[in-house]
Amino acid sequence: MSSTTNSFPAVETRGVVKSFGKGESMVHALKGVDFEARCGEMIMIVGPSGCGKTTLLSVLCGTLKQEAGSVTVFGESLQSMRSSELTAFRGRNIGFVFQQFNLIPTWTALENVSVPLLLAGASRRKAEEAASSLLHKVGIGEKTNTLPSQLSGGQQQRVAIARALVHNPRLIICDEPTAALDAASGRNVLQLLRETALQPERCVVVVTHDSRIFSFADRIAEMEDGRLKALHRPGEYKANYV
């Protein structure tokens, strides 16, 4: 596991509040969350369903606006950005690995992976070269022209990881990356994430409640009822929820 003591903070949230709904049906998803993730570490946000993990993830990558509190990513305050600036910021700095992969079914693996570069304005040739190289790196170089529907779950998640890394972002956001995979595939995916994504200048934030992969984390942030309950080292933490 990498050391995080002196590394630069990648993500910081202070007193983040977010609720959904109105009146009696209002749900307070985040109740003043203070969270920090540092460059060079893989931090997992864990906790029972409904504790606010995914909401926190959405807020810290700027896809959801908090009601109160501050979110800073690589020193830049997200709440001060306009919507278009936030979109461009995400495009430059954040890579995503989704639970359901979200690979566009009519595009080949190569095309899906090249999207972040195309969105950043790269030429098709350059984008596809980089995408092909990364697909080889994640071990599915022979599947470049294959449609997602023709790939296994593990292979699809590898394509998703390649897509998250292709534009060399500094923050990788992973939402339940192993939820749709069997145990072996899940471990392989996390191993791959550590090997390919984790670098000194990069931070990987993983939301999960899959206790089988906790050992891959540098730190584990435990959430409960919209609050950050505690920070643990992987060996110190045992999930006490189902």
Partner: protein
């Protein structure tokens, strides 16, 4: 990204086919019905287009060419007396019944030309010569007469005879004419013989055809003729347009065709709009993922508009292609009427563009309202 947007569209073959079919049907319906409508209106001016003359003079109450209020024959002399008139000749035009050898009747449009000049003669002879009209009992029939008589079991050819008002008419020529709104064949003869073929009336001159002298403009001569009491002159083009406008404003034709065209638009909007909305809705999660990955609304707008316009132009092309194929087929047969000016193509194209914009806009509203955060749900 635009290439990938197209791949996204073509990848959903069922929806793509549905969209293209819906828009093709819409374009076909609008183009075909509008062309039939224009063709029908054009048919109303067939008499003006078959009897070519720079200036038409009619009774002052006449509003369109298929409405004849007869003039006195002396009026020809009055028109000739006008300074700017180069020549003026009488013409007879009325609907008569031709009696066929087997005793059945066929309505015809009897056209009597000035026997000296033969002004107003058919421009395209298929058999015989126009000059033969000067022979006794001579008539020239058009291709419609051949068709109509054939349906009644009689094959008309040079030398065939039939009766008009108990008098023999002998076919000396066959010509090709523009089909008329009334659907009856044109039968040409000389002015004097046309009067013999028709029941006697107090006034028998239908129109006067005239031409301005070289040094006069048609408008000047028309102004001079309009000074004469009881007469009104038109240029050929003006008379044709007045006829079209008359049918447009005095019949239910525009309403009935308009309803069909409107139905085409509604069907297009309903099918294309709904299907495109479904297409966007089904891809919403992926659009949200693209948004999360840094695709701005500008990029997504370009992608959605490209998808909408791709199906739009494909549908448009297929629709007008089918309408043109229909037109080519019916023009060979001669009916139903079909005339497809460029304005119809522009109109249909504009409606398709409107439908595409509307569909894309509705889809974009959905995308804009979707938070990128849904990708985590």
């Amino acid at each position: 990204m635009l290439r990938l947007a197209l791949k996204m569209l073509y990848g959903d073959l069922a929806k793509y086919t549905m969209l293209v079919c819906g828009l093709s049907f819409c374009a076909l319906l609008m183009t075909q019905q509008s062309s039939v409508f224009c063709g029908l209106l054009l048919w109303t001016t067939a008499t003006v287009r078959n009897i070519r003359a720079p200036i038409w003079v009619a009774d002052e109450k006449v509003e369109q060419v298929n409405e004849v209020v007869s003039l006195r024959e002396i009026e020809v002399q009055r028109v000739r007396s006008i300074q700017g008139v180069k020549w003026a000749v009488p013409i007879f035009w009325s609907i008569q019944q031709a009696r066929l050898p087997d005793g059945t009747f066929q309505g015809i449009q009897l056209t009597g030309l000035d026997s000296t000049s033969l002004v107003g003669q058919p421009s395209h002879m298929v058999a015989g010569t126009v000059e033969d009209l000067r022979l006794p009992n001579a008539v020239i029939v058009d291709q419609v007469a051949i068709e109509k008589f054939k349906k009644k079991g009689i094959t008309l050819h040079l030398g065939s005879t039939f009766e008009l008002n108990d008098k023999e008419a002998r076919v000396v020529g066959i010509c090709k004419t523009e089909r008329s709104f009334l659907g009856q064949p044109y039968v040409y003869t000389t002015y004097s013989r046309a009067l013999e073929y028709s029941p006697r009336q107090r006034k028998e001159l239908s129109f006067i055809l005239a031409s301005p002298k070289d040094e006069f403009r048609a408008s000047e001569v028309i102004a001079q003729i309009n000074q004469l009491r009881g007469m009104r002159a038109f240029t050929e083009q003006d008379f044709a347009w007045r006829t079209i406008v008359w049918y447009f404003t005095n019949t239910g034709i525009p309403i009935s065709f308009g309803i069909v065209v409107l139905l085409g638009v509604v069907v297009g909007i309903a099918i294309a709009g709904q299907t495109f909305y479904l297409f966007v809705h089904e891809n919403l999660r992926f659009m949200a993922a693209l948004k999360a990955m840094g695709a701005g609304m500008g990029t997504l707008t370009k992608m959605v508009f490209l998808q909408a316009f791709t199906v739009g132009f494909t549908g448009y092309g297929l629709g007008i292609g089918l309408a043109s194929a229909f037109g080519t087929a019916v023009l060979k047969k001669g009916q139903p009427p079909f005339y497809m000016p460029w304005q119809i193509l522009v109109f249909t194209g504009a409606v398709i563009v409107l439908i595409c914009c509307l569909s894309a806009f509705v889809g974009l509203i959905k995308i804009a309202r979707t938070e990128a955060a849904i990708v985590f749900k």
